[in-house]
C-alpha cells in the first residue's frame, strides 16, 4: 500500500501544520518533570497520531499508546498507568499517548475522565493527548491542565504537491482533473487521498472515477474475487467504505451461497468467523481502533475465485423461495388448525404440527383441508424423515 510505503519517517517528512509540528518539537526539547501535557486537537487524518509516534521515535521515548476505551474506568487507568508513572516500568523511557481522548463519555465512563485529569496534573513522563475537537464540556476539565496545540486541515494545493511527489516516486501519472478530484474527495484526509490515488493509478474503476467512498457492496465483493492480484484485492477491500457489519455479512452471504467444495467453504467460513469475532470484540469494548485489522483478516479470503459472486441473502434461492411460499402456506394452515384445537398459531406450529404430520403419514388421522395444502403436507412429511 502506498499509504504505508510513504508513511512519514521523521517529523520533517510530514506535510502542513508546520507551526504545530514545531511547537510539539519545542515542547519535547524543553520537557522536564511537571511540564503540562500536550493536547493535539484537529480533524481526523491530518497526522496527529503520526506525529506522536514520530516524535516518540525521534526523541527516543518508548511510546505507550492508549485510546479512549483504555481510559474508561479509574481502575483501568491506574492499572495501566500507575506502573509507568511510578517509574517502576521496564519500558525504558516511557511516554504516554492517549488517542481520541474526546471519546470519553461523562456518565458511562466510571471516573475515567477525572482519573485521567488527576494524572495530567502531575505528569512524571511526557503525556500527549489527541482529540478531534475540544469544545465539549467533558474536554473543559482536561483543557485546564494541558497545553493545547491546534492542528488544521492542510491546504489542498499543498496536498497536491505532496501527492505529485508520490506519483513521481512511483513513476505514475494521473490527469490534473483526477488529482483535483482525489484531493477534493478525500477532504484533507491524507491516508484516504493516497489510497484513492493508488486505486486510480492501478486501474481500479478509473473510467467512472467512482470514489472508494461510493463503491457499492455488490461491485466490491465481485471485484474482490475477480482481482488479479492480492494487492488489487486489498485496494478493493479498502475501497468498500461501508459499515463493518454489512461488509462481513456481504462476504458471508456471497460465500455461503456459492458452490464451493466443503474444504474451501470451511476455510472461508473460518476467516469470516475470525472477522466476526473481531467485530464482536469491537462492539463489546468499543475499541474502534481494532477496526483497522478487519481488512487484514478479510483479505485472507482472496483467491481469484470467480465461482463466488455477490449474494444479498445468506440462503440459496430455492431455500428462500421455499421459506417465502411454503412459509405463507404453513401460516395459513396453522391459523385454521389453531382455531380447531383452541391454540395459538405459534403453539400449533411448534408443538402440534410434527405430530399431526406424523399421524397423517401413518394414516391415523384424516384432515379435511383445502387441496392447496396437499403439496405442502407432502413436502413436510418428506422432511420428517
Amino acid at each position: 500500500m502506498w499509504s504505508e510505503k510513504y508513511r512519514p519517517q521523521t517529523i520533517s517528512d510530514m506535510v502542513g501544520n508546520e507551526e504545530a509540528r514545531a511547537a510539539i518539537t519545542e515542547w519535547f526539547v524543553k520537557w522536564k518533570k511537571g511540564t503540562k501535557p500536550l493536547l493535539l486537537v484537529g480533524p481526523p487524518g491530518i497526522g496527529k497520531t503520526t506525529i506522536a509516534y514520530l516524535v516518540a521515535k525521534q526523541f527516543g521515548y518508548d511510546m505507550i499508546g492508549l485510546n479512549a476505551s483504555d481510559v474508561r474506568s479509574k481502575s483501568r487507568i491506574n492499572e495501566i498507568l500507575t506502573p509507568v508513572l511510578a517509574n517502576v516500568s521496564v519500558m525504558g523511557t516511557p511516554m504516554i499517548f492517549v488517542d481520541e481522548v474526546d471519546g470519553i463519555h461523562g456518565r458511562g465512563d466510571y471516573g475515567g475522565a477525572s482519573a485521567l485529569v488527576d494524572i495530567l496534573k502531575e505528569p512524571t513522563v511526557p503525556i500527549v493527548l489527541a482529540a478531534n475537537n475540544d469544545i465539549s464540556d467533558k474536554m473543559k476539565s482536561i483543557k485546564k491542565v494541558v497545553k493545547t496545540i491546534q492542528f488544521k486541515k492542510i491546504p489542498p494545493r499543498l496536498l497536491r504537491v505532496y501527492l505529485e511527489n508520490i506519483l513521481k516516486k512511483q513513476n505514475a501519472k494521473l490527469s490534473p482533473g483526477s488529482i483535483i478530484k482525489v484531493i477534493t474527495k478525500s477532504k484533507g484526509d491524507i491516508r484516504s487521498m493516497i489510497n484513492l490515488t493508488q486505486s486510480f493509478v492501478t486501474g481500479f474503476n478509473p473510467q467512472t472515477e467512482t470514489t472508494f467512498e461510493n463503491i457499492n457492496v455488490e461491485d466490491g465483493v465481485n471485484a474482490f474475487f475477480k482481482a488479479n492480484s492480492i494487492e488489487e484485492a486489498r485496494i478493493v477491500l479498502y475501497s468498500m467504505q461501508i459499515d463493518p457489519r454489512e461488509k462481513i455479512n456481504a462476504f458471508y452471504s456471497s460465500i455461503i451461497t456459492s458452490e464451493l467444495n466443503p474444504h474451501t467453504l470451511a476455510k472461508y467460513l473460518e476467516i469470516i468467523s475470525e472477522s466476526d469475532m473481531l467485530y464482536g470484540r469491537i462492539m463489546k469494548t468499543q475499541n474502534w481502533r481494532l477496526l483497522r485489522y478487519l481488512n487484514d483478516i478479510l483479505i485472507k479470503l482472496y483467491q481469484n475465485d470467480d465461482r463466488i459472486r455477490y449474494a444479498q441473502y445468506n440462503l440459496s434461492w430455492p431455500l428462500l423461495n421455499r421459506i417465502r411460499w411454503d412459509g405463507a402456506k404453513i401460516k395459513s394452515l396453522s391459523s385454521i388448525m389453531a382455531k380447531k384445537l383452541h391454540l395459538s398459531s405459534s403453539s400449533f406450529v411448534t408443538l402440534c404440527l410434527p405430530f399431526v404430520l406424523l399421524c397423517i403419514k401413518n394414516k391415523t388421522l384424516e384432515l379435511e383441508l383445502e387441496e392447496t395444502f396437499g403439496d405442502l403436507i407432502e413436502k413436510e412429511i418428506e422432511l420428517l424423515k
Binding site: 508546520e18 486541515k153 491546504p155
Partner: protein, 96 residues
C-alpha cells in the same frame, strides 16, 4: 471588550478594553483574526494566490494550516523538496 474572552480563531485571551468582534452563538475574535488573510507561500514568502487557486472552492482559508505554496513554486521541478527545504529552514526545530 466589556468582559474578557477567548478568541475563537487563535484561542488566545482577549482582555477587557481591547477591540473584539462578537457574534451571538459564535463567540468572539480578535480584530486581526477576523480578517480573512490570504495564505502565504512558504517557499517564496509571497502570497499564495488564493483568489486564483484551483482549489478555491474547497479550501476553507481561515481553517487550514496557514502556510501553503503559490502556483509558480508548485509548478517548479521538485516542488515538494523545495517545500521541505524551506520548512526546515523556517522551523529549524524540526531538524532536531
Amino acid at each position: 471588550m466589556k468582559f474578557p474572552g477567548t478568541c475563537i480563531v487563535c484561542n488566545e485571551k482577549i482582555p477587557v478594553n481591547e477591540i473584539g468582534l462578537w457574534a451571538k452563538g459564535l463567540g468572539v475574535k480578535h480584530e486581526k483574526c477576523a480578517q480573512i488573510n490570504e495564505l502565504q507561500c512558504i517557499v517564496c514568502g509571497g502570497p499564495a494566490g488564493c483568489d486564483q487557486c484551483e482549489f478555491q472552492e474547497n479550501c476553507d482559508i481561515p481553517n487550514v494550516s496557514q502556510l501553503c505554496i503559490c502556483k509558480k513554486c508548485s509548478e517548479e521541478k521538485d516542488a515538494f523538496d523545495a517545500y521541505q527545504k524551506y520548512v526546515n529552514k523556517k522551523f529549524s526545530l524540526l531538524n532536531t
